[in-house]
Assembly symmetry: C5
Homo-oligomer: 255 residues x 5
């Protein structure tokens, strides 16, 4: 479970509930089924229309990714793993690492190490893994843009709902007492749109971006490591290069 | 038929109708012919002015693309096709694939394979197909930007229409009872602009982008495959490279 | 005459006139000389300040470009021209094309062909034409951004004008009957700003962009053609490469 | 003096004064010292916080750049200068140009020519000048973004000021006659923010960008010229290359 | 202490206090605990959800960076340092600089110089430091985008809070006297959102960007210097290259 995503969802929505409670008009004033249908339904339909079936089917999976710990190995850990595998291979040959690889979680790192076991040449290792990374990147970016677009669509549907409500209200101003409540209801779709955009789509989009960056960095280190091992570079050189990455992640004159 | 585009259009507009119905002012309150003319007509004229005749003539074709299944071959399928053609060529020579190629649907893949039959050299295959891909990309981007611009123009024309209506209303406040309905009508152009931008242009623009990405990926795989076959690479190598792409599309630590 | 630009201007402004007519307040309600001065004058001054004299002097020329057919040769035509010149040169030598070149309209294509007549080496042809293209691109982008900025400035000046009008109105609420008309006038600057941004600057900016893209593509084909002829490539190869471009412009699995 | 910047400032602000005069509420209605302090002061403090001391100290210098003619040599002139120096060097040797260089105004061109006098090798000339150009570009972009950010900050501070004014007004609605003037004052900060953003920061930002582009082009021509002279290319070749640039600046099928 | 950041915070917030004081409604009218909770709390939760734990833990550190002088060595100083180390190494050998390096503050420059002491080859020095720089850049950009996103989230939460307040007010218009104060409170969340976005997140984001640029430039000079020393280039050449950078930072035809 990715705690920060969970905290944000629970905390964010609890705050909204608190704000409504403190507003004193009661929760009922904020729930209007037609408004819910227009904004949530409208956003769903626009998103369905904007993307293709193969990507839409990954929608719940993307939610899962945002709410779960990334399987990508942290920088510090993957560096240690690569150095260990490199040392092991120098000592006992490349076949000796096969049983350990089977236990790795990150599928990209696993494939990188399996290419070594298969005795693949350094340049082939690099080109294969780069191609794979590029296609992974394409797929991730589609999912990230799905949530980005969703935020925009929710805002637009919210505004359309408010305009529909305002027109209905303005067309019939006979009963002055009804104006306030009618306008209150009209504003609800804009509120729903803003909340979907900020507290759902906005969080998931950014969290997926962060996890994408983390996975890209981890995968690039895996590629560099696999290529260095396949090129039979000296353990000392491998360590030095990987440690430069490690130190960059831990310190700097700035943040 | 691209089901998701159809679902979005039918569902999205049905939701708007539902919202209007539930609003209780009747459909009549939401239909104002002058407003329709200003926003739809204005958006059409701006779009006509922004693009050139040769691109405008593809407008309905672009709609067709968004509403139809892409002819681009899915990643998994094109990889199998390339491996089959490569195997066939190794066994029976390059001429043996000619009859099968004639039955291919994707024109880019067809041309890539035809270059092999013509005995074109690997580097010529690559440069020819890259040039073709680049020109296809230019044309696609023009169509995508046409729908992107259309959304913006619809919003701007909607706002202009509302301002024209407000000025008319404000210039003559003598009859207080007329203010509400007059303002309701003034808001209709903004509503129309938002709906065109979200439920028409917004959907088509993004769907064309998705199909463009799918076609680019499929075409790039076709290029890689054709170049590998033309270079007489080993079937094992071709399989390994293409399978790296395939696995990247099916799994990853992230979504 | 570029018909689409003309249709957009005539049709767009006619629609606005129609909307005003249908609004029933009369054209007089939409014309306020001080508002015209502030928005049109303000936009002009801001644009003058943002650019340099040498670029501002091209302002009316840019209008002319948007309203006239591009002199750039269409893809299909330039390809035929290049193949014809290449064939002519193979048959009768490079000097034989000189009289025909003198009749070409597109100055870039003309220069490309003249370099062949002068017997310039392929790499010099390429570097000369690339440098020229780059400088043309710089100049075009400045003009495109001039109209882009103009749209933004018109919107900002319109808003400033409305605020000035609102402040005047609010400072003196003594006569309730004057509030409506005063606010109507205040809104006129925002309307003018939106119309300049959409129906003038927005159209010209996008049309210049389209013509720029068309000219860039045509010029790049001219460069490729000239380099291939200067390198004395075989007519068959030249045809094959240029036809790949041609087919890409005419078909694809997408729009 | 850069006349267009001056015309824009004088003309733009005169138009605003005219608009206020024609509005009839008197200049006094548009001047509110606290509002001036909040918007101008707030924008100043935000800008100070966003940038570093070394860049802030160039603020008035950047104003000077926007209001003065660029020292960068126009394309046509720098090309003639380079051809003259190249011819002079061929005739009388590299030392002969030293006295003339001392009289050049553009420091970048001066340094480029001085490297020739020092007998620097072509590749060193290129790498030295490229490094210098890159660092100049960094510095320019910081200044341009300072004015870009300033426009945004002015708008945000204007909005904050209006909200502060509205809250004060709404908290005390006891005296209806005070509502109008109070709201008028509240709107002044938004007006000030829009005017700073459009008629000050917006003009300076774009003018600096234009002068930056002009200087970059002029410097790149200086580099190309210096490298060609250092490589002892033939005068004919130098002329041909530089004239390609010149013709690109003077004509094209588009604007 | 970075004085400009401090001046901006103290001065900016003092101005807001002054504006409130001059508004005459008293500070009490601007403080509403529920509004504070919604906007500050909501922004915090959204930010927590958008980023990962490892980056969130650097949040206060990033504040510290914005408020403290950068440890990155100024361009002029680092160039002198490099020339001194280069001269020292030529005279007394590479080991002679080891004690001085231990006293350097900038960790990147320190590591670059230590690689020289270790006798690392020029290309290894370059690739190691480039990798390190790239990873530093990734980390910086994450922190910069955290403050950028925060500004946007604060605005969105402010708008949501205002909508919640408006709905509560509109649902109960029975007491006309309560409308003004209720609306005043509703507007407070928008005000808070704008102030967080401008006077906190907006300042920190831009200041971190500036310090990032400064550190990148300083680090790139350190890399160039270290590589030149490791390649045993002549002191004269090293000086000339570094001085080109120095002169670019001090003068130019533009700002």
């Amino acid at each position: 479970m990715d705690k920060t995503t969970l905290i944000a969802f629970v905390g964010g929505w609890a705050l909204i509930a608190l704000a409504i409670f403190l507003g004193g008009a009661g929760f009922g004033a904020y729930i209007d089924i037609p408004s819910v249908i227009i904004v949530f339904g409208g956003t769903a339909f626009v998103t369905i229309g904007q993307f293709e079936g193969k990507d839409l089917s990954n929608f719940t999976k993307a939610f899962g990714v945002a709410f779960n710990e990334t399987k990508a190995i942290p920088t510090a850990e993957i560096i240690i793993k690569i150095i260990n595998y490199a040392t092991e291979i120098k000592k006992n040959g490349v076949m000796s690492i096969e049983p350990k690889i089977a236990e790795e979680d990150d599928p990209f790192f696993k494939e990188a190490m399996n290419l070594l076991v298969d005795g693949t040449k350094p340049d082939v290792v690099e080109s294969l893994l780069e191609i794979k990374l590029e296609h992974m990147e394409n797929r991730h970016k589609t999912m990230i843009s799905m949530f980005g677009n969703m935020g925009g669509s929710a805002g637009a549907m919210g505004m359309a709902g408010t305009l529909i409500g305002l027109v209905a209200m303005l067309a019939n101003l006979a009963d002055p007492a009804a104006v306030g409540p009618a306008m209150a209801v009209a504003l609800l779709t804009t509120l729903y749109g803003a909340l979907i955009g900020t507290l759902i789509a906005g969080i998931i989009e950014s969290k997926l971006e962060q996890k994408h960056t983390t996975e890209m960095i981890s995968s690039q280190i895996a590629i560099q490591g696999a290529v260095m091992i396949a090129s039979e570079e000296q353990i000392g050189n491998i360590k030095m290069k990987l440690n430069a990455i490690l130190s960059a992640s831990a310190e700097s004159a700035e943040a």
